[in-house]
Amino acid sequence: MLKGRHLLDPTDFSPGELDEIFDFADLIIQSPAQFNHLCDSSILATLFYEPSTRTRFSFEAAMLRLGGSVVGFSEPTSSSVAKGESVADTIRTVACYADIIVMRHPKEGAPRIASQYSPVPVINAGDGGHLHPTQTLTDLLTIRSVKHQLTGLTIGCCGDLKFGRTVHSLIKAASRYPDNRFVLISPKELRVPDYVTADLAAKGIAFQEVERLDEVIGDLDILYMTRVQKERFFNEDDYVRLKDVYILNAEKMRLARKDMIVMHPLPRVGEIAYDVDSDPRAYYFKQAKFGMFVRMALISKLLGAS
C-alpha cells in the first residue's frame, strides 16, 4: 500500500512496490491521455530551497498532466524561509494547503525532518549531496525498459561520486536486486562516501573503485555519467581542478559493448561530448522523459489515485 507514504530514500519502497510504480508508469507511457484527470482536485506543493530546472519542471509537468494543480517556490529568497522559518514550521503550514509535498534542500536529511512533521506525503527531490530517490526511480524505469531486467548487471558510475546524490541513490537501490555489481570510476578526491561502500561490503555485493574510465568501459552494461557540481565544493580551486577529469567521447565509446547504455541525470556540463549524442547507446534524453512518467505514477500512488 503506497497511499500516504513518504519517499525519502530509494529503499523506502520494496522492490515489489517499485514494480507496482513501474507497471503503472508503463500504462501511462502507453496511453497518457487516459490519466489526464486522475488527480483533478489535488494540489502538489513544490518546495525548492535550491535551484532546479529539470526536477521541478518534471514534477510540475507530471502533476499538471494528471489534472492536478501546483503551488510552491523555486528559491528560498522568495518565501518565508528567507525570514528564518524552520523546515518544521514551513511544512506544518504548507501541509494545510497541499495534498502532497515535494522538497529539494541543500542540507542532507531535510526531507526526513519534513516527513516527521507532515500529515501528507513528502517526496525527497534531492537533499544536498545525499540522495535523489525520484531520479533513481527514473533510472530504474529506464534500465527496466531498455534491458528488460534489473538483475545481473554491471553498472559503472563515473565522475563525481562523492557529492553525486543520484549515484548514491542508484547504488543503494540497484544493490537490492540480485547479481548486480558496481564499478565506481572517479578521482580519489571524489570517491563515494564511506557509508556507501560500507553498505555494499556488508551485503557482500561486488564493487571496484578505479580511476580510469577507458580501462573498464568494456566491462559495463550501463555507464552512468555524472557532472562535477560546483555548488557541492567548499573551494573553487578544487572544483576547477576536478571538473573535466572524466569526459566520455566517441573514441571511448568504441571500447564499450554494443549493448551498453549511457545514462546521465542531466544537466551535463562537458562530461559527455556532443559526438556521443547520435550514438544509439546514448539514453540520457529518453531517460528525462521516463522521469516525468515515473513521477506521474509515483504521485498517483502516494495520493491513492491510481
Binding site: V87, K107, G109, A110, R112, G128, G129, P193, Y195
Partner: protein, 143 residues
C-alpha cells in the same frame, strides 16, 4: 611517583584509551562534581602501554552505555568498602539520541538546532553508527 588513594565507595572507570579520559570526564559532568573525583591520564598499563582512569568517590548513577560510545573497551568497577563488587563492560546501544553530534557540515542538524541528533548502530564489531538524517558514519573511539 604520583599517588592517588583508593576509594571506599564509588566507581572506577578503567582501561580508558589514553587521551579519551578527559572527554569522558566532561561527558559525565564530573567537572561540576561536589564529591571527590580523579582523572588519571597516561597511567602505565601492562596491556595498553598507557591508559586513562577515572575514580569517583560517590555512588553516582549514570548511563554506562554512553561510555561505550567514547571507548567501547572500558571497564566500570563498582567499589563497596574498598572492594570491587561488580565489573561492568558497557555495550553499544542500538540507538542514541543527543549523545553523538553529526560532523557532516551539510547535515540538516547543523542548521536546524531543535532537531535531536539521532544515530543508529550499523556495525557493532566496527563500532559504527549512522546519522538518521544524512547517513554520515560515526566510528566509536575514532571520531
Amino acid at each position: 611517583m604520583l599517588t592517588i588513594t583508593s576509594i571506599k565507595n564509588g566507581i572506577v572507570i578503567d582501561h580508558i584509551r589514553a587521551g579519551l579520559g578527559i572527554r569522558m570526564f566532561y561527558e559525565l559532568g564530573l567537572d561540576k562534581a561536589d564529591y571527590t573525583v580523579a582523572l588519571i591520564m597516561n597511567a602505565t598499563s601492562t596491556h595498553m602501554g598507557r591508559k586513562d582512569i577515572i575514580k569517583i568517590e560517590n555512588n553516582v548513577d549514570f548511563d554506562v552505555t554512553m561510555l561505550a560510545l567514547i571507548d567501547p573497551n572500558v571497564t566500570v568497577n563498582v567499589i563497596e568498602d574498598e572492594h570491587i563488587v561488580r565489573k561492568v563492560k558497557p555495550e553499544l546501544p542500538e540507538r542514541v539520541e543527543d549523545v553523538i553530534k553529526c560532523k557532516n557540515p551539510r547535515c540538516i542538524t547543523s542548521v536546524e538546532k531543535y532537531i535531536p541528533q539521532v544515530f543508529t548502530l550499523v556495525n557493532r564489531e566496527l563500532g559504527q553508527y549512522r546519522c538518521q538524517y544524512c547517513d554520515e558514519i560515526y566510528t566509536v573511539g575514532k571520531d
